[in-house]
């Protein structure tokens, strides 16, 4: 009795309320978008809103069960459930494809996507593993195992193929970065081959993940700038990598001059080295990307250009995005009003998938800029709140898990809404607690309730 009372007292109400609000908004939008005059009752189970209510109830039920399970269980059984889900991920590859992907297990519309649950099990196992190793004395095996835990499900998911969830799995790299997982064991192996050099840690190793993100960003920028000769500075013929290399050079020189004036002597040497090194790596990779992009087969080039939205694909994904953006843009400042979405309603079908992957656009069309910003703020609140929860955990298991959940939310939020406003490639991932669909609703509920449970019992952990 006392225990359950403390559970409720220790529950993170702000997060729970925010997430219930999202569910209501989501249901409301689905009711508007998929409204069918023949079944006006929101509980009509033949319609998507009725089904969504069913999924919500099922998810809350699952959540409550999860909440009643002692939090130690997750740590204890992290490996077995990880393996079970891996098994399902393998099994799913032998299922008949639905919409070109073998992602579903189950009968008819009641199927589930193991990939959704793989996110949870991977997060749990990663948390367990990293929590148990000594980050101060990493060896290359530790790093390798951590990577393998992430990469095995990623490969299986890519085989389905499910590009969306695949990309979402890179969220774990943020977690690794936060935990200070360094890639030094690998880097040092190469660096220390050089005679007389004996580093204990390297800058590249400890910042490997942000560097990786920066490099990906630079590569995309190179292709964007190389496309149709858009210069980095309007009017100057600095196309593609040339523009980037010159920009990097300017920034590097400015950085060196800055540190020369304000840094201590030790910092100067170190920073200068870092700047020169990053300039070389940045320029080289930018040039390399441009060169190899220029030498790709045309169909591969097309695919990349489509992915980046550089090419019009009137009947493909670009079409969807264009329509979605038109829908969002037509919302105006205060929207067209509830149930008045004319572009993104399921009936007009101008935006396919407007109740699942593109659900942001009917919401933004009906509620306008005001509604859109409120929704963005709710998501930002949830993500930041999860990070705050993560940071208050005593155990690194809890923290790593919480960070994983936070970063999943961030990825889904950024990519899904980005898709609707032309800032992200169209890879089908749902908006958590908002999009229509059982798998996403259930897996995110389970994910959040595990987090709430871990958080509510954080004081029990003495470590």
């Amino acid at each position: 009795m006392r225990k359950s009372k403390s559970l409720i007292n220790n529950l993170d109400w702000p997060l729970l309320v925010a997430f219930l609000t999202l569910i209501c908004f989501g249901l409301m939008t689905i009711y508007s978008v998929a409204f069918n005059e023949e079944h006006p009752n929101i509980f009509s189970f033949s319609e998507k809103y009725g089904k969504q209510i069913m999924w919500i109830c099922l998810s809350l039920f699952l959540g409550i069960i999860v909440f009643l399970i002692d939090s130690d269980v997750y740590k204890k059984f992290a490996l077995p459930i990880y393996v079970v889900i891996l098994g399902l991920l393998v099994l799913v590859l032998f299922m008949p494809p639905i919409n070109g992907a073998r992602a579903w297990i189950g009968i008819g519309s009641m199927g589930i996507q193991p990939a959704e649950f793989a996110k949870i099990t991977t997060a749990l196992l990663l948390a367990k593993y990293i929590g148990e190793i000594n980050l101060k004395q990493l060896n290359s095996n530790n790093v390798l195992i951590a990577l393998i835990i992430i990469i095995i499900p990623m490969i299986l998911i890519l085989l389905q193929p499910d590009a969306g969830t695949f990309v979402v799995f890179t969220a774990f790299f943020f977690v690794l970065y936060r935990e200070g997982l360094t890639f030094d064991p690998f880097i040092l192996k190469f660096v220390n081959i050089i005679p007389k050099v004996k580093f204990k840690k390297t800058w590249i190793g400890s910042h490997f993940i942000p560097i990786l993100f920066v490099l990906v960003f630079l590569s995309i920028l190179t292709i964007l700038l190389g496309h149709k000769n858009i210069g980095i500075i309007p009017g100057l013929p600095l196309y593609g990598s040339l523009g980037i290399i010159i920009t990097l050079l300017v920034i590097s020189i400015a950085g060196i001059l800055f540190i020369q004036k304000f840094g201590t002597k030790r910092e100067r040497v170190k920073v200068r080295l870092i700047i020169i090194l990053s300039f070389i790596i940045g320029s080289a990779s930018s040039y390399f990307v441009e060169y190899s992009f220029g030498h790709l087969a045309s169909h591969q080039k097309d695919r990349i250009e489509l992915f980046l939205g550089l090419k019009e694909d009137p009947n493909g994904k670009d079409y969807n995005r264009n329509r979605a953006m038109a829908a969002v843009g037509s919302g105006g400042f205060s929207g067209k009003g509830y149930k008045n979405a004319s572009v993104s309603s399921v009936k007009t079908n101008h935006v396919p998938e407007s109740e699942t992957d593109f659900i942001f656009c009917p919401f933004a069309e009906e509620w306008g800029f005001i509604g859109g910003v409120i929704l963005l703020l709710i998501y930002l609140f949830i993500i930041i709140r999860i990070i705050v929860i993560a940071e208050r955990q005593r155990s690194s298991f809890n923290r790593i898990y919480a960070y994983s959940v936070g970063m999943f939310f961030f990825y889904h939020f950024a990519i899904n809404i980005g898709m609707n406003i032309g800032f992200a490639p169209v890879i089908g991932i749902p908006l958590p607690f908002f999009s229509y669909g059982g798998s996403s609703m259930m897996s995110f509920s389970v994910m959040v309730f595990i987090l709430l449970k871990l958080d509510s019992q954080r004081r029990h952990v003495l470590r």
Binding site: G180, A326, A327, G329, S330, F333, V343, T348, F369, I387
Partner: protein
Amino acid sequence: MNVENRRYVIISFILFVGVIYMFRLFYMQVLDDSWSERAHEISEKRSEVTPPRAIIYDRNGLKIVGNKTYFNLMVIEENMGENFDTLSFAKLIGWTTQEVNDRFTEIIKGEGVYYNKYSGKKESNYQKSRPYPFLKEITKEEMVKIAPFLSAYPGFYEEETSMRSYPYPNGANILGYLSEVNQNEISRDKFYKPSYNIGRSGIEKIYEKQLRGTKGVHYIVRSAMNNEVKKYENGKYDTLAKQALPIQLGLDIKLQAYGEELMKNKKGCIVAIEPKTGEILAMVSAPSYDPNILVGRKNISKNYPILLNDQDKPLYPRPTQAEYPPGSIFKLVQSLIGLQEGVVTKNSAFLCNRALVGCHSHPSPSSIAKAVKYSCNPYYYYMVKKVIEQKKYPNRYEDAEYGLNLWNAYMKSFGLGEKLKSDVFGLRPGLIPNSSYYDKWYGHHRWAFSTIRSISIGQGEVKLTPLHMANIAAIIANKGWYFDPHFVQSPKKSYPLQIKKNQTMVDTIHFDPVIDGMWRVVNEPGGTGGLARINGINVCGKTGTVENYKGSVKQKNHSVFIAFAPMENPKIAIAVFVENAGYGGTWAAPIASLMIEKYLKKSISNPAKEKRVLDAVLNNK
């Protein structure tokens, strides 16, 4: 490095993305309108419904212009699907597969063509998602055969249109015809869209704005498949198509039809006016054609060239555009001017001096009435000489200038030599010369009455349209005033016609001797218009026999007759002009009398007279 601080890097990154997204949303939704314009384009469709044109009735409430429903078989290529069975479709519409394929090519190349003012070229903006007419203007009977099977051919659907239909095959030159708008008209007036029809002549052109009605506009939300989903904002902005109110003409379609019948195998025209109102009762132009043959694209392209190339010019509206010398009927107006000017009295006598000007054999007239009766040329020579030479100036040239301009002012007050202010399409002014006209020919002060004397008997430079001639009859019937002859009864304020009573410069009292003369022309032995006599009706008339030349070759005289009846209470004023038919009394007079009798009595008392006219072939064929 302290790993704990990395949380701030992550939080900053997340907030950074969030803020960028908010700015993006603000830009897309509030600042940049192009997305919302695109959304309108994608999801809404503005469709216009054009009402059928207004009905036109004659003075007795008979429908003379109506509408008939036709169908266009529309096609949207995008919706056709891949399983279009050309063979069976061709069979359905009774074409060969080759013709069907050719038609598709034609649509793609031709139907979307517009003039691109930027490139200066004609370009086709054919779009697969737009509807184009595959078959145009098919009748209900034809559609009934096709319609039940259309569901097998997705992308094809029927669209109702309406086109003019004329229950009476008469009055083509009055009513005018419609044809497709051109690019100029489309850019000038937003009402028109490609393939709309516009009035090209006659009533249809003059009353275009009153006949076309008010377009209805429907805003619908459409789906990606181009289907209507619902009305935009529940039809808040929708308007109904409204057919314009019917227009009633003063025309008597039965009389018109009778006139056209009488004028068969003749060239010329009949104009009949109700004197009290100025309403045109009939306006026959011969030869004419059935207005139904110029309805619709197919008919126009087939029949218009035939009509255009016919050497008898059926498309030429003679009553309003043919400018003829009036001949002796002009003497009526001359008499009135002479009386008003006081150069003659009703009992003035002049010698029929054939040395002055040719005349036929008759006693010298001892009064105006007799001069009219005998149509004495020397009488009018003397009289008009007195009008022109008023002896106000010692110099005879200056005197003639003054006199001619005074005479011209009188003529203008009869509406002659200028366009009548009317709703009749394509009016010509005719010609009543003034001093500057002759100055141009002969030089200033280089001409006198002797130079211009042939105007006194309605020959020479003087030219009038038959409508003017009929109006002269109406003015005399009214004894001095007239309404401009017009078609529409009781015009509304918005109509391009405002009826105004015009007063001539001749006092009422002077009309009596002229009317007396006109009565004698018809009813006294020796009068030139005896064939216009009708038992029981006092017809007043005046014959004219117009000399005319083709180049310098003299042609057979035109036969002219103007009249009004009954004398006591004139109900109809009429002008009949038969080209190259000889004496006015021979053909024009009996035709006029038949028209008068038909109008006043609804029946003909002298079938022999009617038969003679109907049988006459006077168009030199």
